[in-house]
């Protein structure tokens, strides 16, 4: 209990004094996570809608695979991305290992299946109610997907937020590909892991509270912008 109170005190102190390290780590966390979620959303949301609308031979197997990929172990993703980006790997020449870009790539791999799968479930339900109408209006497949994405945008915000929640709290993969380098690749989660390892529980807890506050802030802001709780308007 004492450690939690100390953590709260440390967190308050860090926030109130705009601790430069905290600000830097927080901004990097946001930069990495928001970039990864934005790119994953660009891939995952249309993919989910496309899977809802398009019928093809191995569709069920593809959806099952997508759902299974939601449970990808981040450490394994980190290891694979590490091997791909390491000097001996196929993308070694890009010199991306231990950079925020590598962390973004790892997070994209982790988050895209999650966003695509949630998007698919929401789009599948919407497609069930729109199917006859959109066929009747003689829309093209691309228009159907665009319509589902637009009319289902509230559900898609939830999908993106789920992706954000997973990405902001991710530690294993970004630790491997980012290396937790001070002033370069250190983010909130890797900093918490480091401080815990050093026995600085109050600071680790403080960073943890900041992380939770950040996640809540982004969720609330997105809900407000998306008006996901307002009725009667789309």
């Amino acid at each position: 209990m004492n450690e939690i109170l100390e953590g709260l005190k440390a967190a308050s102190w860090l926030v109130l004094t705009f601790d430069s390290d905290l600000v830097e780590i927080t901004l990097r966390s946001l930069q990495v996570t928001l970039t990864a979620v934005a790119i994953a959303s660009l891939i995952g949301l249309p993919l989910g809608a496309w899977l809802a609308v398009h019928r093809f031979r191995h569709r069920r197997a593809t959806i099952a695979l997508l759902n299974a990929l939601m449970g990808l172990p981040p450490v394994v993703v980190g290891l694979v991305v590490y091997l791909l980006l390491s000097r001996a790997g196929p993308f070694g020449v890009l010199d991306l290992l231990f950079t925020p870009t590598a962390m973004i790539l790892a997070q994209i791999v982790i988050v895209t299946p999650l966003i695509a799968s949630i998007s698919h479930q929401a789009m599948r339900d919407l497609w069930a109610s729109y199917h006859d109408l959109l066929i009747s209006i003689s829309t093209r497949k691309r228009q159907r997907i665009a319509t589902l994405l637009w009319d289902g945008r509230r559900a898609l915000i939830t999908a993106a937020l789920a992706g954000f929640g997973r990405a902001i709290g991710e530690v294993g993969a970004i630790m491997i590909v980012g290396g937790n380098i001070e002033h370069a690749t250190r983010v909130l989660t890797t900093a918490i892991a480091l401080e815990t390892g050093k026995g600085n529980f109050d600071l680790a807890l403080g960073l943890g509270f900041v992380l939770i506050a950040l996640a809540i802030l982004v969720n609330v802001t997105t809900h407000m912008i998306g008006r996901t709780e307002s009725e009667g308007k789309w």
């Binding site: 006859d132 109408l133 009747s136």
Partner: protein, 237 residues
């Protein structure tokens, strides 16, 4: 521009598993008129309309339009018994069919406004379509189907859950559409509505057409005992 009509349905059947829902059916839909499709529940009215519109796959037989199918499909409208409301406001719901067929957004929204006025929803343009009453939803669905001036309009019991006033409004819109050249095929259970609107009647039972012809002939000198029973108000199964 070549008319998409007449539409010829030849030996058309629709099955669900081993059960035959429709057919075999042969019929021709001429370019003019107001066809009412009558029949008890499960007779195949909805399936026939959906098959004509291309929403049902034909297990055998064919539906032949006078133009390529893609072109024919884009010149039809369909109003469902339970109107499908998009997650949009009234204006955007009406503008949607225009926009997906290449009309500029500004013009589409203007035309949507005019249609909303026509059907009495002019002061609800910014209201969510899902929040309209049952009658308003059906009028919106009807206007959405008519906004592109379809050559043929299919309606599946559009007034089934509406009161007298809403039914009268829907019928007035349909009569105007017909007067403007839209061919109409509509299913209904309401014999009174059939008498008011029909130029010809298709009477279905068990997925087959058992009587068809001009409305005056059907209503005054029905040729099958089932049609006589229907017109006498008896229960027809």
């Amino acid at each position: 521009m070549t008319s998409i009509l007449p539409l010829t349905l030849s030996g058309a059947t629709v099955k669900r598993g081993k059960k035959t829902l429709l057919g075999p059916v042969d019929m021709t839909v001429s370019p003019r008129g107001f066809t009412i499709i009558l029949g008890p529940n499960g007779a195949g009215k909805t399936t026939l309309l959906r098959a004509l519109h291309g929403l049902e796959h034909l297990d055998s037989g064919s539906a032949r339009w006078q133009v390529p199918l893609r072109d024919a499909r884009s010149r039809q409208g369909f109003v469902f018994q339970a109107p499908v409301m998009m997650r949009r406001n009234v204006r955007d719901s009406l503008a949607y069919p225009l926009i997906v067929h290449g009309v500029r957004r500004k013009e589409a929204r203007q035309r949507a406004g005019l249609w909303a006025e026509k059907i009495g929803l002019g002061d609800m343009l910014d209201q969510a379509a899902s929040q309209l009453s049952g009658g308003e939803k059906q009028k919106l669905a009807l206007a959405r189907a008519l906004i592109r001036d379809p050559e043929i309009l299919f309606l599946d019991e559009p007034c089934a859950n509406l009161d007298g006033r809403a039914t009268r409004e829907i019928e007035a819109i349909l009569q105007t559409a017909q007067a403007n050249g839209t061919r109409i095929l509509m299913s209904t259970h309401d014999i009174g509505q059939a008498r008011r609107l029909a130029s010809d009647v298709v009477f279905l039972m068990g997925g087959r057409i058992i009587e068809t012809g001009p409305a005056t002939t059907f209503f005054h000198t029905p040729s099958t005992p089932q049609a006589v029973a229907l017109l006498n108000g008896d229960i027809v199964e």
